[in-house]
Every structure is written in C-alpha cells, then in structure tokens.
C-alpha cells in the first residue's frame, strides 16, 4: 500500500476542493485519491477541517470550488440523497420511533426493495453485526455499543460504495471502543467496502487504517500508512500528534551519512537526514520513547548517540516502564523500556545517559 492508487480504480477522487465560509477558510485546497476497498482515516485535532471534508463528500455542504468524483461519477453538484453513500454518526442517529428492524429496513424501503427481500437482508446484517435477536426492540433499549452496531448495520444493508464514519466511537468508553474498532475492521474486511473514517484519536487511527490522512489547520498535513506516519513523519506537527515523542532543538552541523546535529553548545548527535538540509538548517530532532535506552556507567553501544542527564523518576505501568530524564541542557525526555527489575528502583537524581542508534532519530526542519 503506497501513496499512489496503483492498479485499483479510485473510489474517491478529489481535486482542488476548497470550502470558505465568508472570509473564513474551512478547508484549504485539497487533493485526495482513495482506492476502492481502502480504509482511510481522516485524523486531526478539532477544527482541523476533517469534518468539513467529510461533509463535503457526504453532500451536506457544497464546496466553494473543486471537484468530487465518487466511483467514477462527478457528484460535486449532486444532492446528498442522490450520492448513494452510507454514513455512521457519533450519536448513532437511529430513528427513536422505529424498531431496530424498521430502522435497518428504512433505507431499503426508500430504494423500493420488495418486502420479502427486505426481511431477508435485515436478518442477514443483524447476523453480521452479531445482534440477531434485537430486531423488535427500540434503539433506546440497547446499549451505546449495540446502537452503534445497528447504525453500521443500517448502513451496510443497502451496500453503498462508500461508508463515511464521523467519530463513530467517540461516545463509547475505552474498552468498548477497542472492541468496536476490531468489529469495524472485521466488517470492512468481510465486505470490502471503502471506508472513510474521521477521528481525533491517533491510537484509533493507527489501529484501524490502511492509510491515514493527517489534517492540521484546515489543510492536509501528511497522508500515508500508519507506519509511514509513525516512523517517517514529515513535519513536527505530525511527529507530535502521532505517538509519544520528544522534540529537541537541533541544527545541522555537518551533512553526510550520517549527518551531525548540534543540540547544544556541548552536545551533538548523529542522524540520517531524509531531506537535503544544508549545514546551518534549524529544526527539531524527533526521538520516540521506545527507541531510547537508559544507560548507567557509560556502557554505550559503539556508534550509538549518547546524551547526559539525570533521572527525574520512573513509572512502572506493567510490562513497560517509563523513565523521565532531564538532560544537561535543560530539555526533558521520556524513555520507554520493557520493565527490567534492575532499573525500576533507581534513585531520582541519579546521573544517567540516554542512548539511541543514529537511524531511529529523525530531523525535522522548522
């Protein structure tokens, strides 16, 4: 899975899409191509433009300019009810005056599907979402997780080309959320429907997506697989938003393989550059907590970078522990390691070193 849509036909093709509300830009010019069958997540903080983009695709807002093509059909001017999409809402949006079965039958009745077939298909999707016995109940008699499954069932029952999900798990508690993530992934795999999923939860995005489109300040920040966004963020925002991270001030001191970064007057480290940054380029060094090692007594692996500091404290969270270290230049960073009995009871204030191999750090220009 790469950035290009490859051999598969594109389900969504968006070009030059922009939305203004008066003088306020709700979405800067956006390009996006989603191959058929992909699970794409729009990730970003609130106000980043992800919901605007979703509403434009759903047809609930019309763009200032640009085109939206869904499954080969230009739908830019097509009203929402004629786009043939499915949508799952955060608050489920099940009709309170209809039973579960009536809710699921509703989109089929609009499509004038014969009664017998409606009955068969409703039973089928209730099985698929593993709630075969709730058909006669009213939505409010179900738990939040069950209601969201019904709203997904109501969506897949009419086999739309594309399903849009707007923070569908936002109202559920953490445990149920994880269960539902797996459930949605399973349904996506079984049916192969293209899904566009909006969330502000980076963990959820990493868990579920084929690709993630990270949005910030009403424009696309980076688009790529979860691995690409986690290991190869292109911007400081991406590095900071996805996963835990430490960003240290850094200046390129020498180019080369690996290059030398100056972190402070007395400290420097080696890193592999991913852009042609000349000497003197100012930026940040990204270090992931799990790439760092806590070292005592200078037992550093040859070729690894090392910084000196003192231990602030250690948090044991079970299988892993976190060490918080203040470096001699005043910056603080977190180290995450598998819990090791020899390092869980270290005295705060102890002189320690932090080390990492040059290839795990990443330099991000300002």
């Amino acid at each position: 899975m790469t950035d290009s849509s490859g051999a598969k036909a594109a389900m969504i093709e968006i070009s030059g899409l922009r939305k203004d509300y008066g003088s306020v830009v709700a979405l800067h010019d956006t390009e996006l191509s989603v191959p058929t069958g992909e699970f794409l997540t729009l990730l970003g903080p609130s106000g980043s433009g992800k919901t605007t983009l979703l509403n434009l695709i759903a047809g609930m807002a019309s763009p200032t300019r640009g085109r939206i093509v869904i499954n080969g059909r230009d739908v830019t001017e097509v009203p929402a009810e004629k786009r043939g999409l499915g949508m799952v809402f955060q608050n489920y949006a099940l009709m309170p005056h209809m039973t579960v079965s009536e809710n699921i039958a509703f989109p089929l009745e609009i499509r004038k599907v014969p009664r017998a077939e409606i009955r068969r298909r409703v039973a089928e999707v209730l099985d698929l979402v593993r709630l075969p016995h709730v058909g006669d109940r009213k939505p409010k008699e179900l738990s939040g997780g069950q209601q969201q499954r019904i709203s997904i069932a109501r969506c897949i029952v009419y086999k739309p080309d594309l399903i849009l999900m707007d923070e569908p798990l936002g109202a559920l508690d953490k445990k149920l959320r994880e269960q539902m993530q797996l459930e949605i992934r399973r349904i996506h795999k079984e049916l192969g429907i293209t899904m566009l999923y909006v969330t502000h939860d980076q963990e959820e995005a990493l868990n579920m997506s084929d690709r993630i489109m990270l949005m910030n300040a009403r424009r696309v920040e980076q688009i790529g697989t979860p691995d690409q966004l986690y290991f190869a963020p292109r911007t400081q925002f991406a590095a900071d938003f996805i996963g835990a991270s430490t960003l240290l001030d850094a200046t390129v001191a020498e180019t080369g393989e690996p290059a030398l970064l100056r972190l402070s007057a007395s400290e420097s480290c080696r890193v592999r550059l991913h852009s042609a940054a000349p000497v003197g380029t100012v930026g940040k060094l990204l270090l992931r907590p799990e790439a760092l090692r806590l070292v005592q007594n200078g037992q550093v692996t040859a070729g690894h970078n090392v910084l000196h500091g003192h231990l602030d404290n250690t948090l044991v969270t079970g299988a892993t522990s976190k060490h918080f270290v203040t470096l001699d230049n005043g910056a603080t960073l977190a180290i995450q390691e598998l819990t090791d009995p020899s390092t869980t009871r270290l005295e705060p204030g102890l002189r320690v070193q932090v080390s990492w191999p040059p290839e795990t750090g990443r330099f991000l220009e300002n």
Binding site: A58, G59, M60, A80, E81, K82, R83, G84, L85, G86, M87, F89, N91, A93, M95, P96, H97, F106, P107, I110, R111, K138, K140, R154, Y158, L164
Partner: protein, 264 residues
C-alpha cells in the same frame, strides 16, 4: 438549624396552600353550585341534583351555541396547525434573512392586546366583505391560536436531533420522505399538544369572538356572557363545570402524550 428549616417549610407550605385555595375555590364553588337543586345561584346548595345540566341540554339556544363553538374550535385549530406547523419548521430548520423578525411577527397576536386584534379583525373582515359569521370566527380564532401552535411546534422541532434528518437524507430519502417518515412522526406529540391547546383557547375565546361574530352566531362563551347580563341563571354554573372538566381532560391527554413521547 434543623428546626428553623422545618419552620420555614411549614410557613412556605401554608402560603402555598392559601394561594392554591384562592386559585381553586372559585372553580370549586361553581362546581358545587352546579350540582345544586335550587333555581337560583345559592351557596351552599340546598340539595343534590343534575337539574341544571338537564336544563342546559334541554334549551336549544345553549346546545346550538355549544355546537357552534365546537365547529369553530375544530376548524380554527386545523387551520392554525396547517399554517403553524410549516411555519415552525421553516423557523427552526431554515436559515433565511428576516427569520427572527418573521418569528416575532408570527407571535404578535399574543403580544398585541386582544381588544386591538379584535378591532383590527372586525374592520378587516368588514373591508373584505366577509359576511359568513362562522368563517369570520374560524379565521379570527386561527390567528389568535397560531402563536401557540408555532411556539409548541418549534419547541418540539428543536428537540428532534437534526442528525436524524441528515442520516435519512444520506440514506437516500428525499426531503418529502424525511418529513413524512422522520420529522412528522417525531413531531406528532407536539402537534397533538399544540392542537389541543389551540382548541381550548378557541373554545374559550370571548373578546375577539364578541367583535367579529355577527348576530345569530353566538359561541358558547358569548352566550354565557350575554346571558349573565339579563339573568343570573344557575345553568351558567353547570356550563362552567363542564368547561372546566373539558380543560382538565385536555391537559391530561397532553401530559400523557408528552410523557409517552419522552419515553419513546
């Protein structure tokens, strides 16, 4: 501390009881009188009988007025619903220039003194040569009850999650289907409630009716009002009792409908 609070409570309870009694007593006294056996208004009544009710139903004038009031109330309610529900929908769901002013305008019959509305309607109906007394009453009452329908229906619409309508639209429902299958069913309790209130208001209306009604088109309240000017008939007590009973029944229905809607 404890005793002071309970002391306050007793005082508060006493005040509330006195106020309630003050509000309820007139109705209660009329109700008691209406079951009396005397041919004059006397309190306390001298014996129990249903005579006054019998006299009401035996007198053709009273029955005719009652029917007229029923017809006017039903038609004006239907007219107010027909105009008020779409208006409420436009005001709550739409966004167009002048929306707030239009809302204010639709509520104006409540804010303008009833006498002023009554006089305006009298002049207006004369001007357009609307001579059918019953129609005059229906139109006038529809205008007087419209604000109540708009307010009740707007409140009901605001309680319907717009996401439901959006969801239905994305699923392929046309605007009409959304209205028919989602919005109106969810709005039914509010429609029933506003309709019943409109009915009661119309049934009870005196001032406007007095101005616009023509001789011979006497609604029940008009007839009551004019009859008390000539003779203080105890039949009035029986009518009051029935009107009060009607109001109570309507309020109970509204409360039940809204309770069911909330548990839905």
């Amino acid at each position: 501390m404890e005793t002071r609070i309970s002391g306050w409570r007793i005082a508060l309870g006493a005040v509330v009881t006195v106020i309630l009694a003050f509000l309820l007593l007139p109705s209660l006294i009329t109700a008691v009188i209406s079951f009396g056996s005397s041919n004059q208004i006397v309190f306390p009544p001298t014996g129990f009988s249903l005579n006054l009710f019998r006299r009401f139903f035996a007198e053709e004038g009273w029955v005719a007025s009652t029917w007229l009031s029923f017809r006017v109330a039903i038609w004006s309610t239907l007219l107010a619903l027909f105009l008020g529900i779409p208006a409420a929908y436009a005001l709550t769901r739409g966004s167009f220039p002048g929306r707030k002013i239009l809302a204010l305008f639709l509520l104006s019959p409540v804010m303008v003194p009833h006498v002023a509305v009554a006089l305006a309607l009298y002049i207006y109906f004369t001007e357009i040569r609307l001579t059918n007394g019953e129609l005059r009453l229906v139109f006038a009452h529809a205008i007087a009850t419209l604000p109540f329908v708009v307010v009740t229906a707007s409140a009901g619409l605001r309680h319907i999650d717009p996401a439901l309508e959006r969801a239905a639209t994305v699923m392929g429902a046309s605007r009409l289907t959304v209205l028919r299958r989602v919005t109106l069913p969810l709005l039914t309790p509010s429609i029933i409630a506003s309709g019943l209130f409109a009915f009661l208001i119309s049934f009870d209306e005196v001032v406007i009716s007095w101005f616009v009604a023509r001789a011979g088109d006497t609604t029940l309240p008009i007839k009551m009002f004019s009859s008390i000017q000539f003779e203080v008939s105890p039949v009035l007590a029986a009518i009051s009792t029935m009107l009060t009973a009607l109001s109570i029944v309507v309020c109970v229905i509204v409360a039940t409908v809204q309770k069911e809607a909330r548990s839905d």
